[in-house]
């Protein structure tokens, strides 16, 4: 159990007092943590959320369920003007322009942190309250490289614990092949290997190659540390030249790796985790369930394990101190993204499969007092339901324009099981990569929002009680 942090408690108490004062003035502020592994669709989700909220604030019916939750009192939504933030600003206009361009471009892999805040202006519920003017709810959003999220569980582990757990994992299944050269290298190292930079850089390079192969070739997700895969704008630094060792408690190279491990975590904690993930009120955990299913049994289980690790490391506000200071997450939504990749009939199965996948993290969040929900959405809808003939039989499929060729295609995504499938499913199934679709015709300025599936229902559940 970590030692109590008096400064952290004080800061939480001040934040709690500020939140209470803001609520009293009708100026609530809520930080929405959009959490997800890499390529889960966080950037597109945020772009769609911003465009549709701004359009809803201008009076368009882009988010009907959210408007119903607000009882029609949403009057205006605007982007909070930039202040003196040191963190880059999330640029929904640029993402929308790229999506609307010809040829369209989906957002590239997120390389850095960026933030944005929206203010929702609402009429007061009562006539008397309206004397005091509109309520304002500020929604703070953060975009970040999904890979970095997997550094969260490392904060609870020492270098020796992390080394042992990681090496045990690397020797199993598809990882053993991806990390073959790295495992051969570390197994050949003597226990008292000297603290030579040549050794540490060689080990780091082999380990990183293994991580890349595991991600790109095998579709695995539980890959640590995050900055090895996505170093961000600061690039590679000497504190990253470490890797798991079979003898992590010796001197020489083991000691050097342990020091760099500690320095790496301290750096990630101060730059990314502490400022952005210490305190938030609502959380959306985005999961590309269909891609995990299509990439095989090991990738599917690995995604589940990665989600369990991340959610176990997040702060759900169940402790006594959290209750005293009013901190912690109130609502957690687990969201299956890219729901437009399956026809409507299968979306319920997609939600049920995600529910099964995140059972352990859900129970943890529930035990800490957070409400949890499971949703399926397409932040930008790219397909329409159709019928295709497969093996001489008509099946429900989705129809869209392929990104690469610009040709129309019907895609039959296979049957989505409502719970984790058994061995029979994997035996017959082969790996399948869902093609990228072009986004639909969009206004480059996003004045009318963007077509979506289920974004309004998710937002109504996540923040509807604040409106």
């Amino acid at each position: 159990m970590p030692a109590p942090d008096p400064l952290g408690f004080l800061s939480d108490a001040l934040a709690g007092a500020e939140e209470a004062a803001r609520a009293l003035l009708g100026q609530e502020r809520v930080r929405l943590a959009v959490t997800g592994l890499s390529r889960a669709g966080k950037t597109v989700f945020l772009t769609s959320l911003v465009a549709n909220l701004l359009a809803a604030g201008a009076g368009l019916s882009t988010l009907p369920a959210l408007e119903a939750a607000a009882a029609g009192r949403l009057r205006r939504v605007r982007l909070l003007p930039a202040g003196v933030e040191a963190v880059p600003r999330f640029d929904p206009e640029a993402h929308l322009a790229a999506l609307a361009a010809d040829p369209p471009r989906w957002p590239a892999r997120t390389e850095d942190l960026s933030t944005l805040a929206l203010t929702l202006e609402l009429d007061r519920r009562s006539w008397l309250g309206s004397v005091f003017g509109a309520r304002r709810v500020t929604l703070e959003l953060l975009d970040y490289p999904g890979e970095w999220l997997l550094d969260l569980p490392m904060l609870r582990q020492s270098y020796a614990e992390w080394s042992a757990a990681t090496l045990a994992r690397l020797r199993r299944g598809a990882r053993a092949a991806a990390f073959g050269p790295f495992l051969a290298f570390v197994d050949a190292l003597p226990a008292a290997a000297p603290a030579e930079d040549a050794l540490s850089r060689r080990g780091f390079a082999l380990y990183r190659e293994g991580l890349r192969a595991a991600r790109d070739t095998h579709g695995l997700r539980l890959l640590q540390p995050g900055r090895f895969l996505n170093p961000g704008p600061r690039g590679e630094a000497p504190l990253m030249w470490f890797f798991p060792l079979p003898h992590p408690e010796g001197g020489g190279l083991a000691e050097l790796c342990a020091r760099r491990y500690a320095a790496y975590l301290a750096d990630q904690r101060s730059v990314f985790l502490e400022p952005f993930f210490r305190r938030f009120g609502r959380q959306a955990v985005l999961v590309d369930v269909l891609a995990a299913l299509h990439q095989g049994e090991e990738a599917f289980d690995d995604t589940a394990a990665a989600l369990a690790e991340i959610t176990a490391a997040l702060r759900y506000g169940g402790s006594l101190l959290d209750r005293l200071t009013g901190q912690g997450v109130r609502r957690v939504a687990f969201v299956a993204t890219k729901a437009d990749h399956v026809p409507e009939r299968q979306r319920a199965a997609l939600t049920a499969l995600l529910e099964d996948l995140v059972q352990a993290p859900r129970e943890r969040a529930l035990a800490a007092g957070a409400e949890t929900g499971v949703h399926a959405l397409a932040a930008i809808r790219c397909t329409e339901d159709d019928t295709a003939i497969v093996d001489g039989r008509p099946v429900e499929a989705v129809r869209g324009v392929l990104l690469e060729s610009g040709r129309v295609a019907r895609v039959y995504p296979g049957e989505v099981p409502p719970r984790r499938p058994g061995p029979e499913f994997w035996r017959h199934g082969r790996r399948f990569a869902m093609p990228d679709f072009q986004p639909p015709r969009l206004d480059p300025h996003g004045a009318a929002g963007v077509p979506h599936l289920g974004l309004d229902t998710l937002l109504a559940w996540l923040i509807g009680d604040l409106l």
Binding site: V408, F432, P439
Partner: protein
């Protein structure tokens, strides 16, 4: 969709539409390939759907909170019962003597008239604030008809804006309305608000520098601040009563609170630097005065912002 009793195919599949012309959905983009022109992107008719949805969206009726019902009930009881009591009393006075009844009726009528006038003034003040909100919302959503109507009504009541009335009538879109208002009357009103702020800042500085206690400073700042907010509101054609002033103060409170937090830090740092007791006394009071003056200037800006009928971009 597959035949009943037979399991659906397990393997996912991509089936390209060979030689099939896609249905016309939108204007085709420029072809990238001479042999196989790209298909047009899907069009869900989103813009039309969201526009229709918004037209059908009803505006919610204002409800009554428990506190509102409590207050209204108390007001009805106090005013209603006192009116009944007064009526009984007037009737009794008429029974005693006609001249006494007339006199009592005059006194009661004057009293209730003054109360009515106060309520009427409050209602007008609040209605003016609501009108500002309507105008801002109309500008924000690009609703030209409402924005124009509100801008014309506002300009007719604000002396500084009457010269632009013809231009406002001729404006064809919200951007033109905004440009006319921002370049003309709003710029002038903001300059006047700053002048009022400077006058208030000077007074706050002088009073704080010579005041005997911090509590007195706060009192002076609060009362001068409220007066400043009301002066700025009057510039913008608002004549807020008590409730209107409260609403205006609330709107400016957050900005003012942010500034105050910064100022406390600056003030503390300034005081910490001065260790000489005499210097500390003289410069410390002057520093406090400067902080109060700066807050007053900021308050003028915040109040002017709260009263603008055009939202900032």
């Amino acid at each position: 969709m597959s035949a009943p009793g037979t399991p659906p195919p397990r393997e996912p599949r991509v089936i390209l539409e060979e030689g099939e012309a896609p249905p016309p959905r939108s204007a085709a983009p420029a072809p990238r390939d001479r042999e196989t022109p790209p298909a047009p992107r899907l069009d869900f008719g989103w813009e039309r759907a969201v526009a229709q949805g918004s037209a059908a969206r009803p505006r919610p009726a204002g409800g009554w909170s428990s506190l509102g019902l409590l207050g209204a009930g108390a007001a009805v009881l106090v005013l209603g019962l006192s009116a009944l009591e007064a009526a009984n009393f007037v009737a009794a006075q008429f029974a005693r003597a006609t001249w006494l009844g007339v006199l009592t009726l005059g006194v009661a009528g004057a009293g209730y008239g003054l109360i009515g006038a106060a309520l009427w003034r409050e209602a007008r003040g609040l209605a003016a604030l609501r009108s500002v909100d309507r105008a801002r919302a109309a500008f924000a959503r690009g609703d030209h008809a409402t924005a124009r109507a509100e801008a014309l009504r506002w300009a007719a009541e604000v002396p500084a804006a009457q010269s632009v009335l013809p231009a406002l009538r001729a404006a064809n879109d919200p951007d033109s309305l905004r440009a006319i208002l921002e370049a003309g009357p709003l710029a002038a009103l903001e300059a006047q608000a700053q002048a009022l702020g400077r006058a208030a800042a000077l007074q706050a500085f002088a009073v704080t520098a010579i005041s005997p206690s911090a509590g007195f400073d706060a009192l002076v700042f609060a009362s001068r601040g409220v007066r400043l907010v009301r002066q700025v509101a009057a510039l913008h054609g608002l004549r807020p009563g008590l409730a209107g002033t409260l609403a205006l103060l609330r709107r400016t409170l957050l900005d003012a609170a942010t500034v105050a937090a910064t100022d406390v830090a600056v003030d503390t740092a300034a005081r910490a630097l001065l260790t000489n007791p005499l210097l500390e006394k003289i410069a410390g009071e002057a520093a406090a005065g400067a902080v109060a003056a700066r807050r007053m200037l900021r308050l003028a800006r915040a109040a002017s912002e709260a009263c603008r009928i055009v939202p900032r971009r």
